[in-house]
């Protein structure tokens, strides 16, 4: 039994008290005295030359304080890209400028041209509409392959083409892979599109800039997953404000899913404008603006080939992917199709040689960057779909084919540069098979058929690299940042603890889980521990939350800091008990001397640290506060096996998910209830991608799916009750908690099993369909069934 409120306890989420009672403090809840409002005038064409921007009529409209255009940002830095990818030929990627407000050209619908700051939002919007922009519309490039044709219209005139980079990984293996595919007994090929998605967190983005004339300090309140990163990028690269004069606050954040990692123009604008007009400036995105300005996700077009020998062992994998960058490079965009995608192409399988080619392409569309899973869902989807297709072509059981090729010995160095420290893929597959009653499937299929429905069962595995990541490694790979995490543990005089973490919670439940770890380590009640996060002023420099890294990296930093606290507290306790430090033990919040009945309580030691009357001052300082920075030696590798059963209505093509089961290995688990919730949410998003969501541009670059009328988000009746199992646990070998991270698994692991199940259902009905691109909508399924 886990300790009440300790590691392994399903403690209820303490943050939910405020979230569920309307007491949260989101960025839009913040109103700074005297604030003005900003409305952005955004391009309604995808590509155009700005001939003039006439603000004279608008400037005279009621309430207008000032109108900014691209001219106001000349000489000011553009939005930086945080990752430089080196291409197949050793050349750096093409990296275009990304101005805060458009300069000379607009490159996607939604590109901001001007910004009106006014007394009210309505006045700002009215004035924005009165700005006269003389735009010469240019032809837009939307399709990636068309964008790479010689003579194609260029998104950026100063680049040599629309190709950002042509990446080969591992380039040295290219010939070996070609050879292995040539000599294979069987090669299965699949071409697919991993469609573009819009993250759509419930809370749209908000930014409030504030400038204190007296101190010269700027403050930005923003909806961010990583306020320190925003402070560094915006301060150092865009506005030239040193960190000690810039505070970034990301309070309660209503979901991010990756889209709130990046540094956005609106953040820089509000900070800049607040100083320029000496008034706080607030911007709140409408949902329509979110569709046009939040970085979008996925959008890969891929061909994958899987080679097998005569005994059905995987011998090689070759992939070719076109990855859409959109019009500009968002903060971490170049890393997603490369290091977060190519390195995972081995999956759970011992394929000896792999070659991944990725061409990243600029188009006149909204920029694309990390979205829940980021690269790993794209890798998982193509791999698990092609394995399923191979099993069908070879007439073998899809689970058996997977099991036969599983990596079973650890550590395992993949041919794509990463080393899995631990795992048990048969273990998660066993756990999955215990949940899904595969033997009963035939009867369930017969029952469906009796109702005129087709039933399918889809299986897949996944692996992800989480806990991003070792700074030195990512530095070699082109990251322009470190990726450690930090924590300060501050013990108060009466024994209560505040942990200031560089991680950021925007739905993950850190305020509940982080205290559970401290409670377990010290043996005190979790209610004695509070978590502070999201404000650069009172937290140590941290890299924030994404890539399922909070507990693995941020939690580890907190453990390291807490270990320092405990070591110091033991010294104090030893002094108080007149014992040798080596003999002092800490258990259940009591320090005791081994083999005696001497003990002193946690609270008494804390008090002694701050009221050091009887204290070893010659040896240690008073106070009890420690900071640690933790930089892991490797990624963590959560993995699992997922299953989905669907019914397809052959009359309409409608897919209904009957059941969904997930068996994950997350290593050690702090709070099983929260882990279940993370997996549930991830699967919901994965089902959304598999069945519903699709971001669509027309050939002019107009975004057609720009509201919830046209962009289909999953609703409650689109998803089943999930069965999840986390009993298979191989603890991470290199972090102190043995944890791996669980935030993205559901979104990574679920789309292939849904599509595999639909294909299985159609095949059972005699339809020779081996792939349908997501979203597997009724019209697409019906068309595939009817060769339409």
């Amino acid at each position: 039994m886990p300790m009440d409120g300790g590691i392994g306890a399903s403690t209820k989420r303490r943050e939910d008290v405020r979230f569920l009672t309307g007491a949260g403090n989101y960025t839009d809840d913040i109103n700074v005295n005297g604030q003005a409002y900003v409305a952005f005038l955004r391009s309604d064409v995808a590509h155009g030359k700005i001939k003039s921007v006439d603000t004279s009529d608008a400037a005279g409209m009621p309430g207008v304080i000032r109108i900014f255009t691209g001219a106001d940002f000349e000489g000011i830095g553009g939005l930086p890209c945080g990752w430089q990818v080196t291409d197949r030929h050793g050349e750096p990627m093409q990296e275009p400028a990304h101005p805060v407000l458009a300069q000379g050209k607009v490159r996607h619908v939604g590109d901001p041209i001007a910004a009106v700051v006014a007394e009210t939002l309505e006045q700002a919007k009215d004035a924005a509409e009165a700005i006269e922009v003389d735009l010469e519309e240019l032809p837009a490039v939307v399709d990636m392959k068309a964008a790479l044709v010689d003579g194609a219209v260029k998104v950026h005139d100063d680049l040599t083409s629309n190709l950002c980079y042509d990446w080969g990984f591992v380039e040295e293996n290219r010939d070996a892979v070609d050879q292995a595919i040539k000599s294979a007994a069987h090669v299965t090929t699949l071409e697919l599109r991993n469609q573009r998605l819009v993250a759509n967190p419930m809370e749209p983005r908000v930014a409030i800039g504030d400038f204190n004339r007296a101190t010269g300090e700027s403050t930005l309140y923003t909806t961010s997953q990583n306020p320190h990163v925003i402070r560094l990028l915006m301060g150092a690269f865009v506005l030239g404000i040193p960190e000690h004069k810039l505070r970034v606050v990301a309070p309660d954040v209503g979901g991010g899913f990756g889209s709130k990692i990046f540094h956005y123009a609106e953040e820089a604008f509000c900070t800049f404008a607040a100083k320029a007009i000496n008034r706080p400036v607030k911007w709140t995105a409408s949902r329509s603006e979110a569709f046009l300005s939040d970085a979008q996700g996925r959008d890969h077009v891929t061909k994958i080939e899987l080679a097998l020998d005569a005994d059905n062992n995987f011998t090689a994998i070759r992939t070719e992917t076109y990855a859409n960058m959109g019009a500009y490079l968002s903060t971490f965009a170049p890393s997603v199709p490369t290091w977060l995608h190519g390195t995972l192409m081995a999956g759970n399988y011992k394929t000896p040689v792999i070659y991944v080619n990725v061409k990243a392409v600029f188009t006149n569309t909204v920029p694309v960057d990390a979205y829940r899973g980021a690269g790993r869902p794209e890798a998982t989807f193509q791999l698990e779909r092609v394995i399923d297709k191979a099993a069908r072509e070879l007439g073998v059981d899809p689970i058996a084919l997977r099991r036969q090729n599983f990596v079973t010995e650890f550590p395992y160095a993949t041919p794509v540069a990463v080393e899995y420290d631990t795992g048990d893929y048969n273990g998660t597959m066993d756990a999955l098979e215990r949940m899904i009653d595969r033997d009963g499937f035939a009867a369930r299929r017969a029952a469906s058929e009796a109702k005129g429905k087709l039933r399918g069962l889809g299986i897949n595995c996944y692996i992800e690299a989480c806990g991003i990541a070792p700074s030195q490694l990512v530095g070699q790979l082109g990251a322009r940042a470190g990726l450690y995490e930090s924590a300060t543990v501050r013990v108060n005089a009466t024994g209560g603890i505040v942990v200031m973490t560089g991680s950021h919670s925007h739905g993950q439940g850190h305020e509940t889980t982080f205290p559970q770890v401290i409670a377990e380590m010290i043996g005190i009640d979790a209610s004695m521990v509070e978590i502070e996060h999201g404000d650069t002023q009172n937290t140590p420099m941290g890299m924030g939350t994404y890539g399922s890294r909070s507990i693995a990296v941020g939690g580890s930093a907190m453990v390291r800091a807490a270990e320092k606290i405990i070591a110091k507290a033991k010294k104090i306790a030893a002094h108080l008990m007149e014992a040798a430090e080596a003999d002092v033990e800490l258990k259940d919040g009591q320090f005791s001397v081994a083999g005696t009945d001497k003990s002193v309580a946690w609270g008494d030691v804390c008090l002694a640290a701050y009221v050091p009357h009887n204290y070893p001052l010659e040896e240690i300082e008073p106070g009890l506060e420690e900071t640690a920075f933790y930089d892991p030696s490797n990624f963590t590798y959560p993995a699992g096996a997922y299953s989905c059963e669907v019914e397809v209505d052959p009359e309409t093509g409608k897919v209904e998910i009957c059941s969904f089961a997930a068996a994950d290995d997350f290593g050690n688990i702090i709070n099983p209830m929260i882990v279940d919730g993370q997996v549930h949410g991830g699967i919901g998003q994965g089902i959304g991608q598999a069945l519903l969501e699709n971001c669509v541009y027309d050939d002019q670059g107009q975004l057609l799916s720009a509201s919830f009328m046209d962009y289909a988000m999953p609703r409650a009746d689109d998803v089943p009750f999930y069965e999840v199992d986390h009993s298979s646990r191989t603890p991470c070998t290199h972090n102190p908690l043995g944890v791996k991270g669980c935030g993205e698994a559901g979104a990574i692991g679920s789309p292939p099993s849904v599509v595999n199940a639909v294909i299985d259902a159609l095949q059972s009905g005699g339809h020779d369909v081996d792939h349908i691109d997501m979203p597997v909508s009724p019209s697409r399924v019906w068309a595939a069934m009817n060769n339409a």
């Binding site: 619908v109 329509s288 027309d698 002019q700 107009q702 057609l704 509201s707 046209d710």
Partner: protein
């Protein structure tokens, strides 16, 4: 989107051609047109109020006539800006041919596109909307030239003395 259709108008080619070049006819026929100024030579300026699904806006824009082959064909090109609602633009290639019994066959080939909020919110309904707009335009055009059709009755007040002539024809025949 793209659409084409043809209509048989009970009037001779000269009358139909003159109507095509008439500012008054265009104003009458463009659905939601509030104002129309200009001339066929210099182009027309128009203000149009329309509602596309959830987006209602006043579009200001111009219509130009080009590729004019007298009495045979011309191209109408228009662009309207609706402020925050986005924009709509399009062209119609219109050609005339002699029909039976002195009638005139009008064939049109319309290309239209929308951008901004109209595309973002209206994409599902824009094809239907554009078709409706084109239908309305040419139905009204037909009515203006030859009077309301007997089956539809039309929305205009009945003509004095039960005359079936369109108002444009009446103006011409005066």
């Amino acid at each position: 989107m793209h659409m084409s259709d043809s209509r048989e108008i009970t009037a001779d080619r000269e009358t139909v051609w003159a109507a095509l070049l008439s500012r008054e006819v265009l104003k009458e026929c463009v659905p939601g047109c509030q104002e129309m100024t200009g001339s066929p030579e210099e182009g027309f300026e128009a203000t149009v109020v329309q509602k596309v699904g959830p987006v209602k806006a006043t579009f200001k824009g111009g219509v130009t006539l080009s590729d004019i082959i007298d009495g045979e064909s011309l191209t109408l090109t228009g662009e309207g800006k609706g402020g925050a609602a986005g924009f709509a633009k399009g062209g119609a290639k219109v050609s005339l041919a002699d029909g039976e019994d002195g009638k005139t066959v009008l064939t049109y080939d319309v290309d239209a596109k929308v951008g901004g909020k109209l595309a973002q919110l209206g994409s599902r309904i824009i094809d239907g909307f554009a078709k409706k707009m084109a239908d309305q335009f040419f139905t009204r055009f037909q009515e203006a030239v030859e009077g309301p059709s007997e089956t539809e009755g039309g929305t205009d007040a009945p003509e004095e003395g039960g005359q079936k002539k369109g108002w444009f024809k009446r103006v011409l025949s005066r």
